[in-house]
């Protein structure tokens, strides 16, 4: 009941603060998810972490210089030190022999360390206005105001416009920088522009979720979205949607309990979204792959049994019983029976009083498997110098994998052979 009450309050927008915070978080996470898609595609996931930790000294210096807590000053400081961190990473990478991961780790730690030192100094200086600066560490979404929501909306709109306009350029640079450069495009402008909107998004988001969790908002939506689609525009849409929903739901959960932090909950929800995508993705998901493996096993069983029936019938055995099949290849009875029933249901065989009869369709299918098996044996013996007694086992596995196109190629390559290396005829 408490839950439903929470839900009603949540959506009735009666509670103004809650409305502002959830909307703000949703929009921020949307903006981060969209721009983070390209961070992910350029394999710069760790860069997100570097930027978010590196904004800290910028914020501290902005406060030290101005002495006031003005979000615009903070933002400016954060953007400058974020950009500086990226520039240092690129510069050191171009000029030294250090490995990229070393450079990223060093830059992150140095900036973060300096940031912490400066923050501590400010706290000890006894300036009254300093309270709350440490919210940059872990974020303080709950204190979000209408100004923040406007700011987040602005960056979300900027991100959408930039990415729509530069979609071709950003995709090209993410796929192959060298080729893009070879075409004559100014890739350093494209890359800097992408870096700029990423840094601005991070600098704005850090105030809400903190430096530690900001990187997750960039990368997690894209990582999940990648499992759902193979197109960049769709990936952007999914990543934005994941971000937006996680913002809303995360705020709702933290609001439902007392004293539960908002930023961490957003990240937890985001991770759950990503996990669901990884498990249930239509083609690349874990379960989709399991289903594929299972259907492959079914195919292998079907084809093996068909082949056995055909071979027995070919030897002149007109009354093939289930027992004959068990003796031939040592199938287990239960597995064989379910395979036979499946084959009967799809009209490959008929079963009459414990006897098994191949239909025309079944005969064609069986000949196809045997043909592929023997073609593969010839291919192996011709191109791999395998001994004759090694051919069969290999072909037992590969016969199920050969597609009609590959079979055509094999026949062409081998010049439509009549018999296999064991002098068995190839059924065309």
């Amino acid at each position: 009941m408490q839950f439903w009450e929470n839900i009603t309050t949540f959506f009735s927008a009666e509670n103004y603060t809650l409305f502002v915070v959830s909307l703000g978080s949703g929009i921020l996470c949307f903006a981060a998810g969209v721009v983070g898609t390209f961070t992910y595609l350029r394999k710069r996931a760790l860069i997100g972490d570097v930027i978010s930790h590196s904004v800290l000294p910028g914020v501290a210096i902005a406060f030290m210089l101005t002495g006031v807590k003005n979000p615009i000053y903070f933002l400016t400081g954060a953007i400058i030190s974020g950009l500086l961190s990226i520039w240092i990473v690129d510069f050191v990478q171009a000029k030294s022999k250090l490995k990229p991961d070393t450079i990223l780790a060093l830059t992150l730690s140095v900036f973060f360390g300096v940031g912490i030192v400066l923050l501590t100094r400010i706290q000890h200086s006894g300036v009254a206005a300093q309270s709350g600066l440490d919210s940059f560490l872990f974020g303080q979404a709950a204190s979000m105001g209408i100004f923040d929501v406007k700011l987040f909306s602005a960056i979300a709109v900027i991100n959408i416009i930039c990415i729509t306009v530069f979609l071709r350029g950003f995709s090209l640079v993410s796929f192959d920088e060298h080729y893009a450069k070879g075409l004559g495009f100014n890739i350093s402008i494209l890359k800097s522009f992408l870096a700029l909107i990423t840094v601005i998004t991070v600098a704005i988001g850090v105030q809400a979720v903190g430096v530690v969790l900001m990187a997750a908002l960039l990368i997690t939506p894209a990582a999940g979205a990648r499992f759902l689609t193979n197109s960049i525009p769709k990936m952007l849409a999914f990543a934005g949607l994941f971000g937006f929903l996680s913002g809303l739901i995360g705020v709702f959960i933290s609001y439902s309990g007392t004293g539960m932090p908002t930023g961490p909950w957003i990240v937890v929800v985001l991770s759950i979204f990503a996990l669901i995508a990884i498990l249930f993705g239509k083609k690349k998901g874990v379960f989709a792959r399991m289903r594929l493996r299972k259907s492959n096993n079914v195919k292998i069983n079907n084809e093996n049994v068909l082949k056995d029936i055909y071979k027995l019938a070919d030897k002149g055995n007109n009354t093939i019983s289930v027992q004959d099949l068990i003796e031939k290849e040592k199938h287990s009875l239960s597995k064989l029976k379910s395979t036979l029933n499946r084959l009967e249901a799809t009209d490959y065989i008929d079963q009459v009083r414990g006897l098994v009869i191949l239909s025309d369709k079944g005969r064609i299918a069986a000949r196809e498997v045997i043909r592929k098996h023997r073609l593969w044996e010839i291919y192996l013996s011709k191109y791999f110098q395998l001994d004759e007694d090694h051919l069969h086992d290999d072909a037992e596995g590969i016969e199920h994998v050969i597609t009609p196109e590959i079979e055509k190629e094999l026949i062409k390559l081998l010049d439509r052979p009549k018999t296999d290396p064991h002098q068995s005829e190839i059924p065309y």
Binding site: K95, V165, R168, L172, F175, Y179, G182, E409
Partner: protein
């Protein structure tokens, strides 16, 4: 010389302090299939990349049609090394080949019906039209190479620079590429190909550039494909030059400046 398509003059490229190319100087003729050969790390890819402006030369220059690259870029198609790319990128075969039209259309203009015809035609030339909608992550090595080739063809240039197009591809693809190269040559194109297989060099190329950081030889295949030159390229003296570049790298010696 009107017959020259690419001229490299005193071309030197340093990676850090290590020379990848050193004082390379040559001229390449038009309408030929030209092989760039040399052992691993001899600067073959670097040569292609500096002709394409992907790598900035430390000193020296290259010219194409006796002009700066930027003036003739639309006539040059570049086929990067397949292995340098992450093929698990979310894109279809069609998406990749479309990139060949971006030079003409720029970053913002939509592709036209004419572009689509050109893309279709390019895919057909490499026998990959049936795979247009296929995800690039599902392609075999040979198919990936064909896609890159189609992309270069879609650029409609008349100079093709290809980085190891035969590396790790199946026989059928290799044969297909070779017959395609012959057709392209007959149509008046010039093809410059980084290659590492010595056995096929004589039958594939009209002209050879033999590299080992320095230029060892450049000329018609029947003139430069000699035992002496091959030994110079692949054996013997190469240890001396690699020792020198090691010294340069380790001991901070000053080297040439622009």
């Amino acid at each position: 010389m009107s017959d020259t398509i690419i001229e490299a003059h005193n071309l030197t490229v340093l990676y850090g302090r290590k020379p990848a190319l050193w004082n390379v100087d040559f001229e390449l003729p038009k309408k030929k299939v030209i092989g760039i050969m040399g052992p691993n790390g001899s600067g073959k890819s670097t040569l292609l990349k500096s002709i394409m402006g992907v790598v900035e030369p430390t000193s020296g220059f290259t010219k194409i049609y006796n002009q700066e690259l930027d003036q003739v870029r639309d006539r040059v198609s570049y086929v990067p090394q397949r292995q340098e790319i992450d093929w698990d990128f979310p894109a279809s075969v069609w998406d990749i080949v479309s990139m060949g039209r971006f030079q003409k259309r720029g970053l913002f203009k939509k592709l036209t019906g004419e572009d689509k015809d050109i893309i279709t035609d390019s895919l057909q030339k490499v026998n990959m039209l049936g795979y247009a909608k296929r995800q690039i992550s599902q392609l075999s090595g040979g198919q990936q190479q064909r896609v890159f080739l189609a992309r270069a063809i879609a650029q409609q240039g008349d100079l093709f620079l290809m980085d190891e197009p035969f590396a790790g591809v199946d026989i059928a693809t290799e044969e297909m590429i070779i017959s395609l190269l012959k057709d392209m040559k007959d149509a008046g194109k010039t093809l410059v190909i980084v290659h590492h297989d010595l056995h096929t060099a004589q039958s594939y190329f009209d002209h050879l550039v033999l590299l080992n950081t320095r230029l060892i030889a450049c000329g018609p295949t029947n003139e430069v494909f000699t035992d002496q030159i091959l030994t110079d390229t692949y054996g013997g003296r190469l240890t001396t030059i690699s020792k020198i570049s090691q010294e340069l790298e380790n001991k901070e010696f000053p080297i040439r400046h622009k």
